[in-house]
């Protein structure tokens, strides 16, 4: 029986269910110290003085002067220091590091820092420091707006969102062989390696990064682990001992990245019968105090800003700007949940103003194979916007329920969405990611830097190799990512691990099969010894992309989804309670149906939290509700019944037809929730739609 397409036993083994799997905090090394980060308590200013108000016996103390190489996190730009030298740009910015073997002494150590304070900037609309701007022009939007029968305008806002992986950030730095090893909860071991090389410079050539079992990531362990790993390494090198830094929940929430808040403005021209003729879109992302990944988050946000719709004359302008808050960063969906929220609520408002049924409006405008997207990409047969829409409407009996719920406290709404899989444009070509297969005495080992963070990397990759090589699934093992031992398969982000890295592995398996010449791996190994096959990713040759104009084939393929949310509104408390979500999603073909379904269910839950519950309260540039008591994510009691439908439309460039899936489910729930509320007559244009927000919103005229 084929492994691909069936829910085979997972390569994780039983460890996650027995408590035997080792996460960063479960590991100790002899002589290990614990590390602590002293952080800024102002959002903007300069350090005037630092006073260590404790007995320094047994302490290792590190500041920026201990950095051997460059004091900058090497990501897109090198503007963010590992440790503040003088200028503070946000609350909770790292200034000083302490380590001690006794955690009580460590926690009790007092450091007094005096500052010269400056006036902080918190309003992104007032920021003049632009990290990145994007301008995507297709056709002539001004002329098309002038021709339109109707113009609909609107502004939509989304808030921060905190990742709340249940395992907070944590790493251990261990001095070894003239260098240092990092063991940690990381999504992208090779990103950490790159950052450490820059931090340490040529004086410390031996650095490796090993991923420990990771208790969730969702983008939140994409960039920040470089920072915390750098801190642990500095302490370890100075003390000569292993150093463990594990954040507690409050520190993790206050100091690490969140989803970018966004303000999106739409100005749309239509014919009277509902055909889109012009879309003029302005996207503003609050980047926080340093560039981190904001340019690429903005890029994905802008490319998805026109939604899954056809419109010949489009202009999308985007900016990611500086403010004095901790940097915002990668979070599942990577800019698209913000802009797709905006366009989907805007479509609902267009339907209201034109008096057209919202499903009909989407039918008229949704993309079909052969249509051009906002970047001018001509879609191929793997475009399924209409398929998911029709399936969702039928399955939920949408039209009848919408009519039936009118005037009651129950309501129903939908959203149509898409998500590009893999890196944007020429990203995959530039990345040159690699994967490796190694013969073992019994079979093969997969050796890539792709991390298992709960989504099933190990299992999916093993399934692909099993079927491509034609050997038993049990004979395929998966190496723990260790940058000194595995191929750099690129970061575990952007819904690329199954589709892109899985594809390289499929090709490695084909090449290996040829080399085996009819022998089984074990037979070959006995006769000829070890054998390794390594290959680099070749994106489809038809991909054309211009990084200056942002025109061309933005993604090799897209996943498609339609979410239908039914909810009830408490007339007294204004609490909106989802009672049922139907998620119809097409992502090529599921490699492991149970894992794929888990991605949809989990992503949908995060999307519902984003829509209704998860409000980050910022006070003076810091998260004021930085506990799980005050920042609430969905519990069992908040989650509605979920009906998941996985439709197939194979993508020829993916392994066994698979597309990326991880992020797609995050895009749909928020606009579906708000569109359901709108159907009750509530003029909601913002999330999270908390009871306070709903109570204060106008009714639709």
């Amino acid at each position: 029986m084929a492994a691909v397409g069936s829910s085979v036993a997972r390569k994780d083994g039983i460890g996650k269910a027995t408590g035997g799997a080792k996460y960063a905090d479960d590991i100790t090394f002899p002589g290990m110290l614990f590390g602590r980060t002293i952080r800024s308590t102002i959002p903007r200013g300069r350090i005037r003085s630092i006073e260590l108000d404790f007995d320094r016996t047994g302490f290792t103390i590190v500041d920026y002067r201990d950095v051997p190489g460059k004091n900058a996190v090497d990501l897109m730009s090198q503007d963010q220091p590992f440790l503040v030298e003088r200028e503070v740009r946000h609350m909770a910015e790292p200034i000083l590091l302490l380590a001690h073997e006794d955690r009580e002494k460590l926690a009790a150590a007092r450091v007094k820092i005096e500052y010269e304070e400056d006036t902080p900037l918190f309003d992104p609309e007032k920021s003049e420091q632009v990290f990145k701007s994007i301008d995507i022009v297709k056709g002539d939007v001004v002329a098309a707006l002038a021709r339109a029968d109707v113009i609909v305008e609107g502004t939509y806002r989304t808030g921060h969102q905190e990742h709340i992986y249940i395992e907070p950030n944590g790493v251990i730095a261990v001095p070894e062989d003239g260098g240092v090893a990092i063991h940690g909860s990381v999504q992208c071991p090779f990103y950490v390696l790159k950052a450490l090389r820059c931090l340490l410079g040529s004086a410390h050539p031996n650095v490796r990064v090993i991923q420990t079992e990771t208790g969730g990531g969702f983008g939140g362990k994409e960039e920040y682990p470089s920072m915390i790993a750098g801190h642990a390494v500095l302490l370890a090198l100075k003390s000569g001992r292993p150093v463990k830094i594990i954040y507690d929940r409050v520190e993790d929430m206050i100091a690490t990245t969140k989803r970018h808040p966004a303000i999106v403005r739409h100005r749309t021209g239509l014919t009277r019968d509902g055909r889109l003729v012009a879309m003029d879109i302005d996207v503003l992302f609050d980047g926080g105090a340093y560039v981190t990944l904001s340019p690429t988050v903005l890029s994905r946000g802008c490319i998805h800003a026109a939604g899954p719709y056809r419109c010949d004359d489009t202009r999308i302008q985007g900016r990611a700007v500086f403010t004095n808050t901790p940097p915002n960063g990668a979070f599942r969906g990577f800019g698209a949940p913000q802009t797709e929220f905006a366009v989907e609520v805007h479509m609902e408002r267009i339907a209201e103003q034109l008096g057209i049924d919202p499903v009909e409006l989407r039918r008229i405008n949704a993309l079909r194979p052969g249509d051009r997207t906002a970047t001018g990409q001509i879609l191929r047969d793997d475009c399924s916007a209409h398929m998911v829409l029709e399936a969702a409407v039928k399955r939920t009996d949408f039209a009848r329920k919408r009519e039936q719920y009118k005037g009651t406290n129950r309501t129903i709404g939908l959203s149509l969405f898409f998500h590009g899989a893999g890196f944007t444009g020429a990203g995959e070509r530039n990345l040159k990611s690699k994967a490796r297969l190694e013969l073992t005495p019994n079979g093969v080992r997969i050796a890539t830097g792709s991390t298992e963070i709960g989504q099933g990397t190990r299992t999916m990759h093993a399934q692909i190799v099993t079927d491509a090589l034609g050997i038993p699934y049990e004979d395929v093992e998966v190496a723990q990512p260790d940058t000194s031992k595995v191929a750099d398969s690129g970061p575990t982000v952007a819904s690329r691990t199954c589709m892109v890295v899985g594809k390289i592995l499929e090709e490695c398996a084909h090449e290996l099969k040829e080399k085996l010449g009819g022998l089984s791996p074990a037979e070959y190994y006995v006769r000829n010894g070890p054998l390794t096959v390594e290959r680099m990713y070749e994106p489809p040759d038809w991909i054309q992309w211009d990084d200056n104009t942002y025109l061309g084939d933005a993604y090799a393929t897209y996943g498609w989804g339609c979410d239908v949310v039914e909810l009830e509104l408490d007339p007294d408390t204004y609490e909106a309670r989802p009672v049922k979500v139907t998620a119809v999603q097409e992502f090529g073909r599921p490699i492991h149906p149970a894992l794929a379904r888990g991605q949809i269910e989990g992503g949908t839950a995060q999307g519902l939290g984003y829509a209704l519950l998860e409000r980050v309260v910022m006070r003076n540039g810091a998260m004021a509700n930085s506990t799980l008591t005050n920042y609430t994510i969905p519990t069992t009691l908040d989650m509605p019944e979920m009906d998941v439908v996985m439709l197939e439309n194979p993508y020829p460039g993916g392994p066994f037809g698979a597309k990326g899936l991880g992020e797609l489910p995050m895009d749909g729930p928020a606009p579906a929730v708000v569109n359901a509320l709108r159907h009750m007559g509530l003029d909601v244009r913002e999330i999270p739609a908390t009871p306070e927000l709903i109570a204060g919103c106008r009714t639709i005229a």
């Binding site: 408590g19 379904r597 888990g598 995060q606 008591t629």
Partner: protein, 155 residues
Amino acid sequence: MKFTLNGETREIAVNPATRLIDVLREEFGLTGTKEGCGEGECGACTVLIDGEPVCSCIIPVSQVASAEVTTIEWLNGGHPLQKLFMDEVGAQCGICTPGMIMAALSLGPAPTLDDVRTALAGNLCRCTGYAAIYRAVLKWRGMPLEDGAGGAVVA
């Protein structure tokens, strides 16, 4: 002080204010009990005290004097619920899983979906949206999958 840990009587000399989770993880090396928040909100640290699920991060060890404490390690990997959590993908990243399983053990023999939701209301999972967890628990108890826990998958 003395208490029973996974069926054996243990004696320790620690500051009585030490959190139970620290005693389990550091004194006894039982790292299956996880810390997600340290404030009693996420349930990752759930253990059984005299059969009742409790957050071990907010309990001083003095409170379990002469009580019976049970951790995930006591199940020894052989409990059917453990296998079901993996097979049904009730565990994705797995950090919430030991706590979830310990909380689920307190369920009676024929739980409804609502019983399961109530029993697990103090345990956060950020990965699964809980549906696969319901499937694992209901299957363990031989209960039919109701709407919201089962749901057909059309492909």
